[in-house]
């Protein structure tokens, strides 16, 4: 055995002596003498508890398999307790440790400990298993198997706090689907869990976590829970939001957030909503994990709910969150993500929030977040930008279009994570709508090329978002910008976009085309490029019974084309009524009969443009439309439910009358 050097105090010798000590302990783990083994196990356990660095180095030595075999091979209670405790510590908040423990096959051995007659052995086993189940790598628990359910309920029924806590933990982390939630509720899990609500601190916390999992997005489960003893337990959970322990306050808040998001009707009382918001805001200041979780909880609570966003704003949420972000200390990525998402939600609909937020000199912080190493943080920062840029006032003040902001955003178009790409595309979509500046920083950075590149991505969300950004970029764009764009795409490129397998992508492609051909008459020429390839494709897509949203954009393309010259109008007629028509595929009639008022409206607009009396061929086109049953159909629609449609039809019919048609 190597001796340790004691005379020199250089760092390298300190490191090597500790390494030697570790190797020494490790070798004693394998001893056949149970007393030596027990001592070694205890030593390892005491060295690693609380000490992530040591966990890592023992892991590398291969301690976990050695301890796992000590666990499986021994019958001695002390050895079982120490080895289980050591394995539990490896698994505590340390993903690599969980992986090693599971990889060493210790899981079944730990399960066996639960049936021991020795209480300490049961405790050690239950604790370690709970650590494992708190990790994402925990084995899947099949709730649908009867014997698994029986086992789970035997855990929940146990007098032992650690064991019942384990049962709740399994539910909290392994229950995922609606079917599982249903099966658990039917077996009476809610009734069992609420008993834990009135138990010890750890039981309460385990209960709150598992309740949130079982109730999430399941209105039936929520109503069942609320129905238990006439709402007594809902009141208990609400009371717990004022508990002395921050983690209990947090978990009960998260539970209420789940219930509110699933079935808001149980929260008609404004006071409860308000105190939920303020409690979460207070918890944001907690330095530990509770604060991290509170941030995400808050963003989930106020998402899409303008009334709650207002409440939060009035409770000074923006200033509080910005203060936390500005503290300068390194915040956990989860907390950063939650805080940025909360800010994003606050800015989503309320202009006051956006102005307040932007006035707090936050842009630097936000720009830094764009470079954070965690993808979720970058995504959240982008969403924040997107929503803040909805403020026309600040957008036209040029806050987002300067190099300082634009450059990092554009750089994110190359981000390896697709969720970041989609998020930054969303932000850019809004930012490019800045009409106040004559030149576009974005285009100068080669933005168009990058967007086109992304419109060919493997991920449909990315394609869709890229096209949306391009669509906004082409909105009211000048000739130069349109030509620049078209030169990168060309007819064939457009055809691919409009023929994308995903309907949402097709829709964006058509909307982009609509903006492209809008405006001056020359823009219409794009669709005639390469012998009308694009226009043909549009016609073809419209004939294929597309979804309403796609059809709307397609018809608006035709409307815009039909606003041009005589040739343009004739080309549109060709697309509407191609010869020869194999079967009666009069999609125009179908569109006029659609439930979607926008589609009816877009179709009528096309007709208005086709028979506008100022053009020579209008009469002939009118005849054709009448023959195809279009004009008669319009006459049936004089009292259309949608006002816009009704007005346009009146326009058509008055044009019609000018051709001598009654």
């Amino acid at each position: 055995m190597p001796t340790t050097t004691t005379s020199s105090s250089s760092f390298s010798s300190a490191a090597s002596s500790s390494g030697n000590r570790q190797a020494d302990v490790f070798s004693r783990l394998a001893s056949s003498d149970p007393e030596v083994k027990l001592k070694a196990l205890r030593e390892v356990k005491n060295q690693i508890i609380g000490n992530r660095t040591k966990k890592l180095s023992f892991l590398k030595l291969g301690a976990v398999p050695a301890i796992a075999s000590a666990l499986s091979d021994s019958e001695c209670n002390s050895i079982l307790v120490q080895s289980a405790a050591a394995l539990g510590s490896f698994a505590c908040g340390f993903e690599a440790g969980v992986q090693a423990v599971l990889g060493a096959g210790a899981f079944p051995a730990l399960l066996r400990l639960l049936t021991s007659s020795d209480e300490k052995v049961v405790d050690a086993g239950a604790r370690s298993l709970r650590m494992i189940f708190q990790s994402n790598q925990a084995p899947k628990y099949d709730f649908l198997q009867e014997k698994n359910m029986e086992f789970l309920f035997s855990l929940l029924n146990s007098e032992n706090e650690n064991v019942s806590g384990l049962g709740a933990s399994i539910i909290a982390h392994a229950c995922g689907t609606t079917v599982e939630q249903q099966v658990l509720c039917d077996a009476g899990v809610l009734e069992k869990l609420v008993i834990l609500l009135e138990g010890s601190l750890s039981q309460r916390e385990a209960c709150l976590e598992s309740l949130a999992t079982v109730l999430k997005n399941n209105p039936e489960a929520v109503s069942r829970f609320v129905g238990l003893e006439a709402g007594r337990y809902l009141s208990s959970v609400t009371e717990l939001t004022k508990d002395r322990y921050p983690r209990t306050r947090l978990l009960s808040c998260l539970c209420l957030v789940v219930i509110y998001n699933t079935s808001p009707s149980y929260f008609l009382n404004m006071g409860t909503k308000s105190s939920l918001v303020t409690t979460l805001l207070e918890l944001l200041n907690d330095p530990g994990q509770s604060g991290d979780d509170a941030a995400l909880g808050l963003s989930s609570l106020i998402a899409e709910k303008e009334d709650l966003q207002k409440l939060a704003y009035e409770a000074n949420a923006i200033k509080n969150i910005v203060d936390i972000l500005k503290t300068g200390s390194e915040l956990h990525p989860k907390r950063l993500q939650g805080l940025f998402l909360s800010l994003a939600e606050l800015c989503s609909k309320l202009e006051d929030c956006r102005c307040s937020f932007l006035s707090l000199e936050m842009l630097d912080l936000l720009v830094n977040a764009l470079r954070h190493k965690n993808a979720d943080v970058r995504t959240a920062a982008c969403i924040c930008f997107r929503n803040a840029a909805r403020s026309v006032k600040n957008l036209s003040a040029g806050r987002f279009t300067n190099d300082h902001v634009m450059l990092p955003l554009v750089q994110l178009l190359h981000d390896p994570s697709s969720s970041v790409q989609v998020a930054v595309l969303g932000a850019l979509s809004n930012i490019v709508l800045d009409f106040s500046s004559p030149k576009s920083t974005f285009i100068e950075y080669g933005g168009i090329k990058q967007l086109i590149e992304l419109s060919k991505s493997m991920d449909p969300n990315t394609r869709c978002s890229a096209l949306r950004a391009l669509r906004n970029l082409m909105f009211l764009a000048d000739k130069k910008r349109k030509e620049l764009f078209y030169s990168e795409v060309k007819a064939q490129g457009f055809v691919s976009l409009i023929s994308d397998p995903e309907p949402t992508v097709q829709e964006q492609g058509l909307a982009l085309l609509r903006n492209l051909v809008d405006g001056c008459i020359n823009s219409i020429e794009f669709v005639f490029d390469e012998e009308g390839l694009i226009l043909d494709t549009v016609g073809r897509q419209l004939r294929k019974s597309p979804q309403a949203q796609m059809a709307i954009q397609g018809m608006y393309v035709l409307t815009n084309v039909a606003s041009g010259t005589e040739l343009h109008k004739e080309a549109v007629m060709q697309q509407l009524f191609p010869q020869p028509q194999a079967e009666s595929n009069n999609f125009m009639l179908k569109f006029l009969q659609s439930h979607e008022s926008q589609l009816r409206s877009a179709t009528v607009w096309t007709i208005i443009n086709l028979i506008s009396p100022s053009s020579p061929g209008a009469l002939d086109r009118h005849v054709k439309l009448r023959e195809e049953g279009i004009i008669p159909q319009l006459k049936n629609m004089v009292n259309d439910a949608c006002l816009d449609v009704k007005i346009r039809i009146r326009t058509v019919l008055s044009q019609s009358m000018s051709f001598g048609d009654n």
Binding site: S9, A14, I49, G50, R52, A124, L201, S329
Partner: protein
């Protein structure tokens, strides 16, 4: 019909504070107090709570036997002994021993309480320095404390302060000499005690002090409205007559 009505009933509270407050004599007060019903078992529970939380095992056990007070569900007298052993170990400077005992009691406590674990390691270093084992202290600082700072930035400042002890020839006269004080041991001991109590779902503070604080607060509140016998000495609980 009289058009003039002069209202003489002007109350000016600022002028006669002493006489506008209600006066309660000692006799009246004692009569009121006697009318308040208290349950013996509540008082017993309070005493039990105090003894258990403060860790007086033998006293708690004897009191429980003699008074017949039911054991509270949360705490087992047996666990008090374990907890007291940990507290005593820290108070005597045997930190490594204390850590082992805590881990035997509940391995989760130090695994989920990074601040507490850091403070215990810090105390270990302080004890090594106190014993003059400079080399061992250096090694310990580098091997055990430095990683804590790496794992968690929040500890860096305290870490620097502690390591500063190693720099000074005579640490007991340095700017950081507070760390060597026995009170620092007591602080760490108290922290461990609280953590163990929390893990056992027991409240870390006994109820008795809160009740006494409530008494003082209530008297202060009542002083604004009445003159009555006070309890000025909490240790005796003697009623003292109201001032003339």
């Amino acid at each position: 019909m009289s058009l003039f009505r002069i209202f003489i009933n002007q109350d000016d509270d600022d002028d006669d504070m002493a006489t506008s407050k209600k006066v309660i004599t000692r006799e009246e007060w004692e009569k009121k107090l006697n009318a308040v019903k208290l349950r013996k078992q509540d008082m017993n529970t309070l005493v039990m709570n105090f003894l258990v939380t403060e860790g007086y095992v033998d006293a708690a056990a004897k009191f429980q036997r003699e008074s017949g007070t039911k054991q509270t569900a949360e705490i087992d007298l047996a666990t008090i002994t374990d907890r007291m052993a940990v507290k005593k170990a820290v108070q005597n400077g045997h930190v490594e021993d204390a850590i082992e005992k805590v881990n035997d009691l509940n391995p989760e406590i130090l695994d989920t309480n990074p601040e507490l674990f850091f403070h215990l390691q810090q105390q270990r270093l302080i004890e090594l320095i106190r014993q003059g084992k400079t080399e061992e202290a250096l090694e310990f600082a580098q091997e055990e404390l430095a990683p804590r700072g790496e794992e968690n930035q929040a500890f860096l400042q305290e870490l620097e302060k502690t390591v500063a002890l190693l720099v000074f020839e005579d640490a007991s006269n340095s700017p950081v000499k507070d760390l060597l004080d026995i009170s620092h041991r007591l602080k760490t001991a108290s922290e461990v005690n609280a953590a163990i109590l929390t893990s056992q779902s027991h409240e870390k503070d006994p109820k008795l002090p809160s009740l006494l604080k409530m008494l003082i607060w209530a008297q202060n509140q009542l002083d604004e409205k009445a003159v009555y016998p006070h309890i000025n000495d909490l240790s005796t609980g003697q009623l003292e007559d109201p001032p003339e």
